[in-house]
């Protein structure tokens, strides 16, 4: 396959960026999208040019490092995959592919396609935990049975990889899906109920402070989420937040 790439290049946070055109030959369908970029970079290095920087690490869709807005969609056109799991067989010979960083005011560009997603960390630091000491002096794990459905729902919420695709997809750059997944994971478990009120208030406050937009229920986040995190989590967080506000 031969492909035309339009890639966002930006030297650093303080420099203006621009789209740059590249042509790449010999792309195979079995390559992952990132392996295609590897080939491009190898070529750039051999020509003495700076390779394109992008975040990646595990390359099996779980670490949440890789990002990329590919042809206007986070993680590209395939569903339930991250960019590292997107394979080139989804594209055709001669295609033009536009590659941009995830765009949000709360995710400033560091270089090229690399963005700073520490806003997510700060949201979690604001309350995404259960305040239990890690000394091990706790009750037996089976002391509190937990309904399978609740445990499963908690698990599904907890599978969020924090990649930021929800923010990137949302026309408002809202982080509600991410935040609500974290809130839900704990809200669904009895051990997480204890601090539920404070948790949701603190996490939502931090989310707002980071400059993310507002949720307008377009549902784009759910569609683009590589882990299929459900909109139900947002409704649950809204509920949790309202009840926390009423309780004061």
């Amino acid at each position: 396959m031969k492909l035309n790439l339009k890639i966002w290049r930006q030297k650093d946070a303080n420099t203006k960026g621009e789209m740059v055109d590249y042509t790449i030959n010999g792309v195979e369908g079995d390559m992952s999208f990132l392996e295609m970029l590897d080939v491009l970079n190898e070529d750039l290095i051999n020509k003495g040019k700076e390779p394109v920087q992008f975040d990646h690490d595990c390359r099996e869709g779980i670490c949440g490092s890789c990002s990329l807005q590919i042809n206007g969609e986070p993680h590209g056109p395939d569903r339930l995959v991250t960019t590292c799991q997107l394979h080139m067989r989804k594209f055709n010979d001669g295609d033009t592919i536009v590659i941009e960083p995830f765009r949000a005011t709360a995710f400033p560009v560091i270089k090229d396609l690399v963005v700073d997603r520490t806003a997510f960390d700060r949201i979690q630091q604001a309350g995404g935990y259960i305040s239990v000491n890690t000394s091990g002096n706790t009750v037996d794990a089976n002391a509190t049975p937990i309904e399978k459905d609740k445990a499963d729902d908690s698990f599904y919420a907890a599978t969020c990889i924090g990649c930021g695709a929800c923010v990137a997809a949302c026309k408002n750059a809202s982080a509600m899906l991410f935040t609500s997944a974290k809130v839900s994971q704990f809200a669904l478990l009895p051990q997480g109920r204890v601090e539920a009120t404070e948790r949701v208030e603190n996490m939502v406050r931090q989310m707002d402070l980071e400059g993310f937009g507002n949720c307008t229920n377009t549902g784009a986040c759910e569609v683009e989420c590589p882990k299929g995190i459900s909109l139900e989590n947002i409704a649950r967080m809204n509920r949790e937040y309202l009840s926390a506000t009423v309780k004061g």
Partner: protein
């Protein structure tokens, strides 16, 4: 409370509540209007009641106007904030790949409906205010039907009404069900809410269109 209204979720709830209130109002408005096609006398009777009942005029009407203002001011405020949340835009953004046109363009449909409201207020509300309080005319419980039908005589006005109702339909299509999600309702009833939303979003505006077109095609002959 000031803290409450600053939070993104609380603002969404305000949008949802005011929106639902307006949805409810719309149904009531439609119920009265449809009588203008079926039974002009009932239409006159009900319109007169609405125009001169103290509770409606001095309590419900201000609440309605407040509802409209809150909904639209908050909507604009959210739009501004949301716009800031992505200061640098994408070169290529495939919004249609993952969300409906209606959900992404509430601000457009909303502003069109708002502009229409301007015309609608000019046509009816300002006229009423002038008739009752400025010109100080006497009560006339039989004038409403004729006044309404006459409004739809010009072709241009009927067309504007029809277009506005199409956009209202698109606005409702997303907004109605969405307000439940904003208030935290997403459960086994959600599919039913979504179905009802679709029926409502098509049915009510279509009904209004029918009324407007009907009166345009059936002018009162003098």
């Amino acid at each position: 409370m000031s803290g409450l209204i600053k939070s993104s979720i609380a603002r969404k709830v305000v949008m949802a509540l005011s929106g639902l209130f307006l949805v409810f109002f719309l149904a009531q408005h439609f119920t009265i209007n449809i009588t203008s096609v079926i039974a002009p006398d009932t239409f006159n009777e009900w319109s007169h009641f609405m125009g001169y009942n103290g509770l409606v005029q001095f309590i419900l009407q201000p609440i309605l106007i407040a509802g409209v203002i809150v909904h639209f001011v908050m909507g604009i405020a959210l739009e501004i904030k949301n716009n800031k949340a992505r200061a640098i835009k994408y070169k290529k953004y495939s919004g249609g790949a993952n969300a409906s046109w209606m959900s992404r363009n509430m601000i457009i449909t909303g502003l069109v409906v708002l502009a229409f409201l301007g015309l609608h207020f000019y046509d009816f509300w300002i006229h009423e205010m002038d008739y009752k309080y400025i010109a100080g005319n006497a009560e006339d419980p039989t004038r409403y039907y004729q006044e309404t039908v006459e409004k739809f005589e010009p072709f241009w006005r009927t067309v504007i009404y029809v277009i506005s109702f199409v956009l209202l339909s698109l606005h409702l299509w997303h907004g109605f069900a969405s307000s439940f999600q904003s208030m935290g309702v997403n459960n086994k009833y959600t599919p039913a809410i979504q179905t009802f939303t679709k029926i409502y979003a098509i049915g009510i505006p279509l009904g209004f269109i029918f009324i407007a077109v009907y009166h345009h095609l059936n002018p009162i002959t003098h």
